[in-house]
């Protein structure tokens, strides 16, 4: 058992190190060695204990302005998702599961496969009253109603997850973590109480850097500090009503280089503006809280989610000196099932990056002031600080496995757009989006 734990520790450490596909395959192989001491399989046909599932989806996106999932201004097919997972029950109490995902998401993800989750599920107790156990390894973060399966078209509310609750531009930071989580499920007389939470190392990437810095610096964001997260969910009457509260608190270190500290060379100024345009090593603290409620009827489904985010920059300096932003977003959706195969929804969603300056007015005037003194610093419009969207969508279940969707969005504001895909200074405030998708799962 000690050997087992040691191997696991090594595994979690390795899993955390880098994000290359090749390394991930090595890690998977390493993970497989973990199961070698388990001999319970010999007694039964192990294929009976293996489940394999997968999904694929292709979207087509058109926007009137701005870019979302590629050059959508001219029509983008850069929304392709592929996933394959396996679950192997090693013994009645121990299960192994893993999933590989490839996502082509415009400039936000290039489609190279990555390890989405890889975990050992150890069940300590289970009875007719509930069960209790732990997930060890790379585990999806239980946030809101949809975070864990946001990449699976069939499980999303629409073609896209609600961008005001589950921001795609920083998805990798909140989607999963390398560590351990405990879970408890309690079967109460009229419902089920589900609790899941733990600690793990977050997985930052370039998109996260772009999202929190507005650019990709030479230095790197490191997920070296443990993040803590969890969700408490109550499903009343078999899930007719669902309420949940979830949260995560994390701190990511930024390791800046000498070049980052100098900032760009500005003709006429040289490096004199380093204190303003350069960045130093420091950290970004993020607190993220989501409240969710849902009614699931035969025809009607009502969903509401509210998210708070608190971002605190420490020691980074430059434009991020003493920045502490409190944001919030919400999403309210009404869904009606005309037939079991055909349903439609309307959703209102909004996100405000700075709740003290909801429409970015102060931000815009500060930015313009900076721009008038230093013309080479672009003036960023206030609409980059919020989003208010109306979304209409419909889905058709062609068969239990095939699904087609269509969606129309009327968007005001640009906070949900990724700086990886857009020059934020030149984004358009009012923009519409039309998308269709075809998805398959097994």
């Amino acid at each position: 058992m000690i050997l087992y734990c040691l191997k696991l520790a090594v595994y979690i450490r390795l899993l955390h190190d880098k994000n290359q596909c090749f390394n991930q395959i090595k890690r998977l192989l390493l993970l497989l060695t973990l199961i070698s001491p388990v001999t319970v399989l010999a007694e039964t046909n192990w294929l009976d204990n293996l489940q394999i599932h997968g999904f694929t989806s292709q979207g087509l996106i058109f926007t009137t302005d701005n870019n979302f999932y590629g050059d959508s201004d001219h029509g983008s097919a850069n929304m392709t998702e592929l996933g394959l997972n396996a679950s192997l029950q090693l013994s009645p109490k121990i299960r192994l599961a893993g999933q590989l995902i490839s996502r082509n998401a415009g400039e936000m993800d290039n489609g190279s496969p990555h390890l989405d989750y890889a975990l050992l599920d150890i069940n300590f107790t289970s009875s007719s009253k509930g069960r209790f156990g732990t997930y060890l390894g790379r585990v999806k973060n239980p946030l809101g109603l949809y975070n864990e399966t946001r990449d699976v078209a069939h499980t999303r509310q629409g073609i896209f997850t609600s961008q005001t609750i589950y921001f795609d531009k920083v998805r990798n930071l909140i989607i999963s973590a390398d560590g351990a989580q405990l879970y408890g499920e309690y079967f109460l007389p009229n419902g089920t109480l589900l609790i899941q939470g733990g600690a793990g190392y977050p997985i930052p990437d370039e998109n996260v850097e772009e999202a929190y810095f507005g650019q990709d610096f030479e230095g790197e964001l490191k997920g070296d500090n443990l993040a803590f997260l969890g969700r408490i969910m109550y499903e009343h009457d078999g899930g007719r009503w669902i309420v949940a509260a979830s949260g995560a608190t994390l701190e990511i270190d930024f390791e800046g280089t000498a070049t980052d500290a100098l900032g760009p060379f500005i003709p006429g100024f040289g490096y004199a503006l380093s204190p303003l345009l350069g960045v130093n090593s420091g950290k970004i603290g993020i607190d993220y809280t989501i409240f969710s409620a849902q009614y699931n009827g035969e025809k009607w489904q009502l969903t509401g989610e509210l998210a708070y985010e608190d971002i605190d920059y420490t020691d980074i300096g430059g434009l991020f000196s003493d920045v502490d932003v409190k944001s919030y977003g919400y999403s309210v959706e009404v869904n009606y099932k005309f037939t079991p195969k055909w349903e439609a929804f309307i959703r209102r969603e909004a996100f405000y990056l700075d709740k003290e300056d909801k429409y970015g007015k102060d931000f815009e005037s500060a930015s313009q002031q900076l721009n008038s003194t230093y013309p080479f610093i672009p003036a960023i419009p206030g609409h980059s600080q919020y989003s208010e969207n109306w979304i209409l969508g419909s889905r058709w279940l062609i068969s239990p496995r095939w699904m087609a969707r269509v969606e129309y969005q009327m968007n005001k504001g640009a906070v949900t757009l990724s700086p990886s895909e857009n020059d934020i200074a030149n984004t358009t405030k009012d923009w519409d989006l039309f998308a269709i998708s075809l998805s398959y799962r097994f």
Partner: protein, 140 residues
């Protein structure tokens, strides 16, 4: 008299009407349970009960989501809708936190698989039940 005739006609119609009878829960013949509560059933079909009280692993069998027998089973025995179960299973399968039940295509296959898999549970229309499997009662 007219009333009695009319009443017995209505009662007769009810009795003889083509039975959209509630599905019967079936388990492997060695299963030691004789009844389950609705909560037990919901937990079992949500794949949240890995073992029977005697320790034998639970194997859940279901028909396709759009099969009328499955739809009726969800409504009458679980008081849920097929899309709710599907969402529970999808969340578990695609997040790695659990598994999905085994889907079978026909009631005949359901009967055969439940009869031959220790720890199995499923459901059938009453007319398709035979002695190869054990039936089990739902108590509310």
């Amino acid at each position: 008299m007219k009333k009695i005739i009319r009443h017995s006609f209505i009662i007769g119609c009810l009795i003889l009407a083509p039975t959209i009878s509630a599905q019967v829960l079936i388990v492997h013949p060695h299963n030691t349970s004789s009844q389950l509560t609705r909560n037990n059933l919901r937990a079992i079909f949500a794949m949240r009960t890995p073992q029977w009280p005697d320790g034998i692993p639970v194997h859940v069998f279901v028909l396709e989501d759009n099969d009328p027998v499955h739809v009726s089973f969800c409504k009458h025995l679980l008081d849920m809708f097929p899309y709710q179960l599907r969402r529970v299973w999808d969340r578990q399968v695609f997040s790695g936190t659990g598994i999905a039940p085994i889907a079978v295509k026909t009631e005949q296959e359901m009967r055969e698989r439940v009869a031959s898999t220790e720890g199995a549970i499923g459901y059938l229309l009453p007319e398709n039940v035979d002695s190869s499997i054990k039936t089990i009662e739902e108590i509310l």
